[in-house]
Every structure is written in C-alpha cells, then in structure tokens.
C-alpha cells in the first residue's frame, strides 16, 4: 500500500485576490503533487491541500514568502490512516 508518512494537510486562507492568484499558480505546478481536498475558490475562504512530505518545505516557503496564512490541519496523514485501519480491524473482530 502507498504510504503517506509525513504528508500534511494544510488549511490555507488567501486574504485577497492576489494571494488567490498565487495559489492558483501553485495548483498548476504538477511536480508538487498537491491534492486539493477543499478547492480554491475566493479570497477569505479556506482551502485544504494535502502535500507530500517531500514537497512540504517548498510549499511552506512559498506560502510564507507570499505572506499567505496557513495552519496545519492534519499533522501526519499516515497516522490517521493507521488509526482508520485499526478501527476497521477492531470492528471486524
């Protein structure tokens, strides 16, 4: 199974249209392998993006350099997946 160790989901809230534009640019960068869980809409609305561990630093630097506010929504996706698996096994038993 593919693992998601260290992948994070960030909650990003662009403050203005300029920041929305910056995020749209980020979205088109295929090599970043970003997975938008909650899509980018307009300024002031939250965006949820899963970011592979290997791309985290680059994305966070991008956000900080453009002064785009974000917080960590899921610290480590794999931890949640492991918990989900455990819960399923428990219920199956």
């Amino acid at each position: 199974q593919k693992t998601f160790i260290g992948d994070q989901v960030l909650e990003i809230t662009p403050r203005n249209e300029e920041q929305v534009k910056n995020l749209r640019q980020l979205e088109t960068e295929a090599h970043l392998q970003l997975d938008f869980w909650r899509p980018l809409r307009t300024a002031g609305e939250k965006v949820h993006v899963r970011i592979p561990f290997s791309r985290l630093q680059a994305v966070k630097i991008f956000l900080e350099s453009h002064d785009i506010p974000y917080s960590i929504m899921i610290e480590d996706v794999q931890v949640l997946l492991d918990k989900e698996n455990e819960e399923m096994l428990f219920h199956r038993r």
């Binding site: 199974q1 909650e11 899509p39 980018l40 899963r50 899921i74 989900e84 819960e87």
Partner: protein, 308 residues
C-alpha cells in the same frame, strides 16, 4: 452467513462486505428489496443497485454514492440509508407513503474499482481505474465524464490529473451504465448523489454559471433539506448551485440528469466537522448517516408530493 442485524453500519467495509450486506438486505426484506446489476466496471466488477419497490413499475428516485472512491463516508452512509429505508417501510408513515407511490434505486458503490483500489493500494484514490491509450496515468474522474458541458471549464484534459474528464463523454463504463439505466427506466424523477466532504447541498448547474429554470424551487427544497440535516447535530451546510458554491465543474452527473429532464437533481457533500477530510473517523459514520437521512427525507417527500 452473517445476518443483516449483525452488520456493523458504524465502520468502513470492503467491497465484498458491502455486496454481502446488499444480499442480506434483499433476503431480509424480500417483498421490498431486490438487488439488480446494471453493468460491470472497467475491471469487471458488478455495478449493483438495490431496488426498493412495493410492486409495479412506479416513478422512481435514484440515489448513488461513492462515485469518488476515497469518499468512504458516502458509501457507508448509503448502506446505512438502505437499511433505514427497508426497516422504516410500514413503520414510518412518510417512508411508507413514499414507497407506496414511488420506487427507490440505491447504488452504494458507484465506482467499485476505485473503491477497491482505495482499500488496497492508495487510500487517496478518487478516479476510475480505466487505462488511457498513450498515457501511463490511470483513471478518469467519473464526475467529469457525463455529457453535460463535457470537456469544459473545471475539468482537465490531462490524464494524470485527478479531474481528468476522459476521452469522451460516457467513456467510463461506470457512468454509461447509469446513463443507460436512467434512459431505459424513463421515469426517474429525482437523482441524488452523495459525496464527501465540506458539507454542501448543491443543485445544477456546474458546467455553466447561469441559474436553472427551476432555481427557485430547487433552492427552496435544498434549504429545507439542509435545515433538516442541521437539526439533528447542528452540522451546518451551505446550499446553492455547484458553480457558485464550489467552482465551475463540467461533466457532472446532476447537470446531465437535470438537462435530461430530471428536475430534482441534487448533490450532497457530507460532513467533516472536525477537519479530517476524507479520513473521517468511524465514530462519525452513524451521525453523518442519521443527519443526511433527515435531508434526504425532505427531498424525497417533496418529490413524492410534487409529481411532474
């Protein structure tokens, strides 16, 4: 053989377990529930639908879930809903009246290949598993593959994208099977699709940002349904046309059904009140299903009471 009463609706299940439970429901309620297969997926898995009918060929309501593989709470909610419909008939006056007037078709796993793949290989998988000639990437977003503004804004022509629309409208057998079924039935009066997450209740259009001719009625019904959803646990929903409350998205199922003549076409995005996204903990499955049921009932009652 596990009886339906022993089935745990409060956890996530494999495809085999879901299919088994569908069989159990059909066995447990033989006068009301039957299972029918409307096609095969790309990898030749059956596309199984539960039919709830008190007899005759009545006008019908269609419910589906899990067109996007990773949205597991939608599959779980659909299965809980199936059990609820069956057990409420003859007890709940509203559901009894509904099933005396209309049939219900429920497809709990619209994208079985993707669902299996999300269990076995990649929990974050969203698309089908069809292969595309000339591309190493696999799968089509089946909710960009319907013949409604196909290939337009909000869908991708890149086979590696999660919103790839596919080579042509209905190219995905999972989509075509439903289209063929809807056309051959001829009397589907409502089409409701369950997704997750972000707590939205939407109606057409997504492929264009103009309002539909039934906007006022659809909005009113959706507002009532969303209030009903909220009434149980306080989960807040946003209501509106797809284009204005998510983004412009072409090739979606409810746009096709609406343009085909199914006025009551709605899409739910189920809950994540705790910022878990597609990894909603199992202890939220039952509350999600229960609150969604409140909204579904409001829509179904409106459909029942407003024939067209």
């Amino acid at each position: 053989k596990e009886r339906s009463s022993g089935f745990d609706f409060g956890t996530y299940h494999t495809l085999e377990e879901i299919f088994q439970e569908m069989d159990n429901l059909a066995e447990q309620y033989p006068d009301l529930v039957s299972k029918l297969q409307i096609g095969y997926s790309f990898e030749k898995r059956p596309i199984n639908v539960l039919k709830f009918s008190t007899g005759g060929n009545k006008p019908a309501i269609w419910l589906d879930a899990g067109i996007h593989a990773r949205e597991w709470v939608s599959h779980a909610t659909a299965l809980w809903t199936a059990n609820q419909i069956a057990s409420d008939y003859g007890k709940d006056p509203s559901i009894t009246a509904l099933l005396d007037t209309m049939d219900i078709f429920l497809l709990p796993v619209t994208n079985p290949d993707g669902y299996v793949f999300s269990h076995t290989e990649n929990r974050m998988w969203r698309k089908t598993r069809s292969t595309i000639s000339g591309s190493l990437c696999v799968g089509v977003d089946p909710n960009r593959n319907w013949d409604a503004g196909f290939g337009g804004p909000g869908s991708s022509d890149n086979p590696c994208s999660d919103s790839y629309h596919g080579p042509s409208a209905n190219s995905e057998v999972e989509v075509k099977s439903i289209v063929d079924f809807v056309k051959s039935h001829g009397e589907i009066k409502a089409f409701i699709t369950l997704h997750s997450y972000s707590q939205l209740l939407m109606y057409p259009y997504g492929y264009k940002c103009t309002v539909s001719k039934d906007f006022n009625e659809l909005n009113e019904v959706a507002q009532i349904a969303a209030e009903a959803v909220t009434s149980l646990y306080g989960t807040t929903y946003e209501v509106g046309p797809i284009c204005s409350i998510i983004y412009q998205a072409s090739g979606g199922s409810i746009d096709w059904t609406y343009d085909y003549g199914i006025k009551y076409s709605f899409a739910f995005e189920l809950r994540d009140t705790g910022h878990y996204g597609f990894l909603l903990p199992v202890n939220q499955i039952l509350p999600t299903a229960e609150e969604t049921w409140q909204g579904l009932k409001k829509i179904m009652e409106h459909v029942r009471d407003n024939p067209y």
